[in-house]
């Protein structure tokens, strides 16, 4: 939980900045971890138009886990943004807010070259 004392002592703008920065930092990290390990909360089977928590037989067609990655990453980033005290991010270099997403993108570029070199 956020430290009430530190939260009260900071302006709304600082708290907003802290929350938005944490969101933008946590989201791509969680997304890349989920994607690299192919971790899925649920799978969507577009051929039958159904969501399932478990892997289904091949008769269900291809499974999509993209939506699950987005939803879990959004939830995790929102929770982190809500609970991380703004004093923790007060001394954080603001450049991380774009560098971490940029590195996440670079990682996906490198990882997906497996398709391009196939």
């Amino acid at each position: 939980m956020a430290d009430p004392q530190s939260t009260l002592s900071r302006s709304p703008s600082e708290r907003l900045f802290s929350a938005l920065t944490v969101f933008s930092l946590v989201f791509p990290v969680v997304y890349v971890v989920l994607y690299y390990n192919e971790l899925a909360l649920f799978r969507f089977y577009p051929l039958v138009g159904e969501l399932h928590l478990n892997i289904q037989p091949t008769t269900f067609g291809p499974a999509m886990i993209y939506y699950g990655w987005i939803i879990v990453s959004t939830f995790a980033a929102a929770v982190a943004a809500a609970v991380v005290p703004s004093r923790w991010t007060a001394h954080l270099w603001a450049g991380w807010s774009w560098l971490v997403p940029a590195f996440a993108t670079l990682f996906t570029f490198i990882y997906e070259t497996r398709w391009l070199l196939h």
């Binding site: 938005l20 993209y66 398709w115 196939h118």
Partner: protein
């Protein structure tokens, strides 16, 4: 019907591309009289584009998510069947780039709408540039995939 949503997705992507390119180039411009075309292109009120970019991005992303299942069923399987794994890889990168740029929107909005323009100029430049490059990448890859049949 999927063609309608596909075209709508492309139209919003073009609007987004225009907005974020104006803003993305304006943030690197030093204040000076705009005489040449490129300077006039960049001499826009950057903060005025922030809300539009966020809304256009969210709409474009939502439309992309909506038309994604037919892509997986029809297009992706056809690309596999034709041995075009390179195109599949390009689209895989496109989907990740779209998500990462989505994650950047909150902090992007913050730097344009709540931080004074005289502060954190460097961060604003790079956040905006990352989003601009992401939008360009996704639009170009989308076009390549859309025209794959004619390109190969």
């Amino acid at each position: 019907m999927i063609a309608f949503w596909d075209v709508l997705h492309a139209i919003f992507a073009m609007l987004l591309l225009g907005a974020v390119t104006h803003q993305g180039l304006s943030v690197w411009r030093k204040p000076a009289p705009a005489r040449a075309f490129i300077d006039r292109f960049r001499a826009v009120n950057g903060p005025g584009y922030a809300n539009a970019v966020v809304v256009l991005y969210l709409v474009t992303f939502a439309l992309g998510c909506y038309i994604y299942p037919p892509y997986v069923l029809d297009v992706k399987s056809s690309l596999f069947a034709a041995g075009l794994s390179g195109q599949v890889g390009l689209f895989q990168i496109k989907e990740h780039v779209a998500v990462v740029a989505l994650a950047l929107l909150p902090v992007y909005w913050h730097y344009w709408r709540t931080v004074p323009l005289t502060e954190d100029t460097g961060i604003r430049r790079f956040v905006t540039t990352v989003i601009m490059v992401a939008v360009w990448w996704n639009l170009v890859v989308g076009h390549i995939l859309n025209n794959t049949k004619g390109l190969v």
